[in-house]
């Protein structure tokens, strides 16, 4: 499956000027409790785990605070805590695979959910062509 990077606007810190940024975001289908929701995720090869917004667990019929408690740290040493839950994921055109992610309320409003190594990159072959702004997932 081929995707195009998404253009977004960003305002570099200390600047009033908006800049165009391209981020590798793809839509995947999340499945749990007979509920299906399509959800865009940022493909972040630097993330050890997948971090999803807690509200998304609600959409899947998962009580966000009922899973295994997990804490992770970001590059700025900021702690993010949430609860890990298993669910199924389908990249359009590919088969359904079992995965898991940490659902958290700590992701900022400027971020979408994040797909990391554990739970996404260990499940799919992903190729990035940043020059041409395309992503391949198989």
């Amino acid at each position: 499956m081929q995707y195009k990077y998404y253009p977004l606007e960003a305002k570099p810190f200390g600047s009033n000027k908006k800049r165009l940024l391209w981020r590798p975001i793809i839509e995947v289908i999340l499945i749990s409790n007979n509920k299906l929701v399509s959800h865009p995720i940022l493909l972040d090869t630097g993330a050890d785990v997948s971090l999803f917004k807690a509200n998304v667990a609600d959409l899947l019929g998962i009580k966000p605070t009922s899973g295994k408690r997990k804490k992770v740290r970001g590059i700025g040493n900021t702690e993010i805590s949430g609860f890990e839950h298993p669910f199924n994921i389908r990249v359009p055109g590919l088969k359904i695979v079992k995965t898991k992610a940490v659902f958290t309320n700590d992701l900022p409003k400027y971020s979408v959910s994040i797909a990391g190594n554990l739970g996404f990159f260990d499940k799919f072959k992903v190729t990035f062509d940043s020059k041409n702004k395309t992503i391949g997932v198989s």
Binding site: K4, H39, N55, L59
Partner: protein, 64 residues
């Protein structure tokens, strides 16, 4: 590669809001502050598998 909705348009019109898109990810069918309500509204409008997410606000550069 199918064309998708423009994220910049969403950032300008719905920053920080939850939105639901129809299945081709080309238009907004519902939006608001409550993800579940937004999802339920989209389902009521007949969207089988809505794309639901919180529209990212405009940020600085960040490293995940």
């Amino acid at each position: 590669m199918a064309a998708r909705i423009n994220f910049i348009y969403l950032q300008r019109k719905y920053p920080g809001k939850w939105v639901a898109l129809e299945e081709k990810n080309k238009s907004v069918v519902s939006f608001g502050d409550n993800a579940k309500k937004v999802y339920d509204q989209a389902k009521k409008k007949g969207v089988k598998i809505p794309t639901v997410f919180q529209v990212p606000t405009i940020s600085g550069y960040f490293i995940g």
